[in-house]
């Protein structure tokens, strides 16, 4: 435990880098997935096409995706965040599109009958009601991005993987374990926190008479 106690500030710094990397990627992912998911929600052809392309991206192992990005983007945070965003698209677009599509048809008709325009219906009815499913997608995405970001240290993107890879080159077990355990704890805490948000949202939308 000596290394961890003496170097807690370095561990905290790596954790901070990790959180910033994943947070940035998650924001960009949402900015791309929200319009795409909304657009694909009621267009089955577009939905299937998006799922096929993002499905193949999702299947490519992280190290391979980095290998493809390096010749174009070099090393560092840029290719790392690009890879994180590419991985997020399948789950995020799927959950946003399904969340909107599966809303009861009567609800949409009622909104139309009350004279809601398309934009107002989306913002006031569809997105709020789809929110639990969207948050579920964000949870899965955040956890997988935390995992891929660990590997991103290998292409000089920093974060908790840095501690792990330094530990491997220095053949220093405690450092490896400190990095691995901190990354795992981050994933577990984020997963549990977003599960809680998801549960609260579901309970809230079940309590509201619609």
């Amino acid at each position: 435990m000596n290394w961890t106690i003496e170097n807690w500030d370095r561990l905290a710094e790596a954790l901070g880098e990790h959180v910033v990397m994943v947070g940035t990627a998650l924001l960009i992912s949402l900015a791309i997935s929200l319009p795409l998911g909304i657009w694909a929600a009621r267009r089955p052809g577009l939905y299937v096409a998006t799922m096929s392309v993002t499905g193949v991206l999702y299947t490519i192992p992280a190290l391979a995706l980095f290998a493809f990005l390096i010749p174009f983007m070099g090393l560092g945070t840029a290719p790392a965040i690009t890879a994180l965003v590419l991985y997020s698209l399948l789950i995020l677009v799927r959950n946003i599109a399904i969340g909107i599509r599966e809303l009861p048809a009567e609800l949409i008709e009622a909104a139309d009958g009350m004279g809601y325009g398309r934009a107002r219906r989306l913002l006031r009815i569809e997105l709020p009601l789809a929110l639990p499913v969207i948050v579920a997608g964000i949870r899965i995405t955040a956890v997988s991005q935390i995992a891929v970001a660990t590997i991103a240290a290998y292409i000089s993107a920093g974060g908790l993987g840095d501690i792990i890879f330094q530990g491997i080159t220095q053949d220093f077990g405690e450092k490896i374990v400190a990095g691995a355990v901190t990354a795992s704890l981050l994933a577990i805490v984020v997963d549990e926190a977003l599960k809680l948000v998801e549960r609260r949202l579901r309970a809230a939308s079940a309590a509201e008479p619609l």
């Binding site: 490519i60 190290l63 290998a67 792990i164 077990g173």
Partner: protein, 214 residues
């Protein structure tokens, strides 16, 4: 770039073959071990609901651990090489199979189970003849997820001396040899996509067989 890649592949055909073979044997060992562990474990949990809650919670935590963290955690415990990589990959594939099997067995239509009991079936016969066959498509879907996850994470075995196609990428990174780097990436991606497609086709076959038997 393409010409360089073809030249590299021609000159290093043997390395490529060896790395692919190692990747496959590593993945198959881990998938086999994960299936052999997950199925009896799920059966046991279905029989003991008092244990199931905490066990499923633990498996959910295991599922959240990043693949790299799981692999490198083996270094201080088991050292480098094939065995630690296979152990980590087994643990990585386990949750998908266990959770799918457990859920599928619990969600078998109670009316069908009732009908089996009415015919005088014992608990064992019920499991063998009714519950397992009906749960099979969902169990297989879990195996498919695990297979893709394992083949993908096996790339990281290169970091703990476990070999596999990841070594082509790490070697290419070490010398900044772009053709080797991209070729290694292509080989890994092709294997992962082929695993996904192969298992998806097999899953369709399983569903059709079970569907026509019911």
């Amino acid at each position: 770039m393409l010409r360089d890649m073809i030249a590299w592949a021609a000159a290093h055909g043997h390395d490529l073959e060896q790395a692919a073979g190692r990747h496959l044997s590593l993945s198959l060992t881990a998938l086999g071990a994960a299936i052999l562990l997950a199925l009896p474990l799920a059966l046991a949990l279905v029989r003991r609901p008092s244990l199931a809650g905490s066990a499923i919670g633990a498996v959910n935590v295991l599922r959240t651990i990043p693949s790299l963290a799981l692999l490198v955690a083996m270094l201080p415990l088991l050292g480098t090489g094939f065995v630690p990589a296979a152990v980590a990959l087994t643990l990585y594939g386990l949750p998908a199979i266990l959770l799918n099997t457990y859920t599928a067995l619990r969600e078998v239509d109670p009316d069908i189970v009732e009908a089996g009991l009415g015919q005088g079936m014992t608990e064992r016969q019920l499991m063998r003849r009714i519950k397992l066959p009906l749960a099979l498509p969902v169990i297989f879907a879990g195996i498919r997820t695990a297979a893709v996850q394992i083949v993908s994470a096996a790339t990281l075995a290169a970091f703990i001396g476990g070999g596999g196609l990841g070594e082509l990428i790490t070697a290419g990174m070490g010398t900044l040899d772009m053709p080797q780097l991209v070729l290694g990436g292509l080989a890994v991606a092709a294997l992962a996509v082929a695993t996904e497609i192969g298992f998806a086709l097999a899953e369709r076959g399983v569903r059709r067989t079970v569907g026509s038997a019911a």
